[in-house]
């Protein structure tokens, strides 16, 4: 499918770059569409730590939902959160939930990893004891696919692999021309 760029036919080149752009924008639109439907900035995440074992392992793929429906929002639900000022998303279970009344309630959550002995207060910011549901939680886990995300962990942990993969792709392109 990959063309040899050295053929230098401007028509072909333009058509091919258009095709490439179409693929990229389709992927981007799908991701953003999913984001809108689930109301989550990141509707699909890869598990990075073992703190929810044996439920989730490193490299498993999780599907998130960020609208308060059904039982995905209360205690026992599994949420992905991003503490303000820290950039690593964490997947843990809600242990306590305190909500005010009213149309726009303030909801405070305490979380814990199934595989951790203590709750998450130490993972929060200094002096923070509860998560802010609105500000810090990016979604509840509703779907699970094992292993699929492991390739992204491999690629980010072994930069050599990325180079090797790119090299292999280039090699394939060159070889296919003959």
């Amino acid at each position: 499918m990959l063309p040899s760029l050295s053929s230098c036919n401007p028509h072909l080149l333009l058509a091919q770059s258009l095709n490439f752009g179409l693929i990229l924008s389709t992927a981007f639109m799908l991701w953003k569409g999913l984001s809108l439907v689930s109301n989550s900035p990141s509707p699909i995440v890869v598990v990075l730590s073992g703190s929810m074992e044996p439920a989730f392992w490193r490299g498993d793929l999780l599907v998130l939902w960020n609208r308060d429906m059904g039982n995905w929002a209360g205690t026992g639900a599994v949420v992905v959160y991003n503490v303000v000022g820290k950039s690593i998303p964490i997947v843990h279970r809600i242990m306590r939930r305190h909500a005010t009344g009213g149309a726009k309630p303030k909801i405070s959550l305490l979380t814990k990893g199934d595989n951790n002995p203590a709750d998450d207060v130490e993972l929060y910011a200094n002096g923070q004891f509860y998560l802010d549901r609105e500000m810090e939680v990016i979604g509840s886990v509703i779907g699970y696919v094992p292993y699929v995300g492991y390739i992204t962990i491999l690629l980010s942990e072994y930069p050599m692999l990325k180079t090797a993969m790119l090299g292999l792709m280039g090699l394939v392109v060159v070889m296919q021309r003959e």
Partner: protein
């Protein structure tokens, strides 16, 4: 060379489509294999509210803390089928409050990894988690207990469900004198 590459590509493509289709079928089968769970019996034996320090959080705040002892009987065997990896079961205490009107706190939980361990029978068990509230005041409130469970699949959607499990009241503060 060309044909070998195309063959490898086709083989890999076929492998991924078959894996994806099988995964989808297994995930869909969960909907039809779901069975109803029997009754859950919970009996609260003893509740104490004391004031003390939480040395776990490195603060000098003295907070209200509740200690609970209970019996529990539940049979989760009907919930296990071929796409059940594990069940996370938990007992939640819910109570009202002044600033935060809705409070839920998990007081005990368990990971059930297999059918063989799905019959729960607890006698005079101490709650796994001490309740300490976001407002630090919950004594003399009436609380309801809910037994909840989260079915985690090998692949597919996570499901949650719950059953009412009785109620109790937090007693007045227990002081060292009485």
């Amino acid at each position: 060379m060309h044909s070998t590459l195309v063959r490898i590509q086709n083989l890999f493509g076929f492998f991924t489509s078959v894996t994806f289709a099988v995964g989808l079928l297994v995930a869909a089968s969960s909907m039809f294999l779901q069975k109803e769970m029997g009754d859950v019996k919970v009996n609260v034996r003893n509740v104490e509210v004391v004031k003390g320090y939480q040395n776990q959080y490195y603060t000098s705040r003295s907070t209200e803390q509740a200690f609970i002892r209970f019996d529990l009987e539940a049979d989760l065997e009907p919930l296990f089928h071929w796409n059940t990896k594990q069940i996370f079961a938990y007992l939640t205490a819910s109570y009202p409050g002044r600033k935060y009107e809705f409070n839920d706190a998990i007081i005990w939980d368990i990971i059930i990894p297999s059918k063989e361990k799905s019959k729960l029978k607890l006698r005079n068990r101490r709650a796994k988690y001490i309740i300490n509230d976001v407002t630090n005041r919950f004594r003399e409130q009436n609380a309801t207990l809910t037994f909840g469970w989260n079915i985690q699949p090998h692949v597919g959607a996570l499901t949650w469900n719950e059953k009412g499990a009785g109620s109790f009241s937090f007693p007045p503060l227990k002081t060292k004198n009485n």
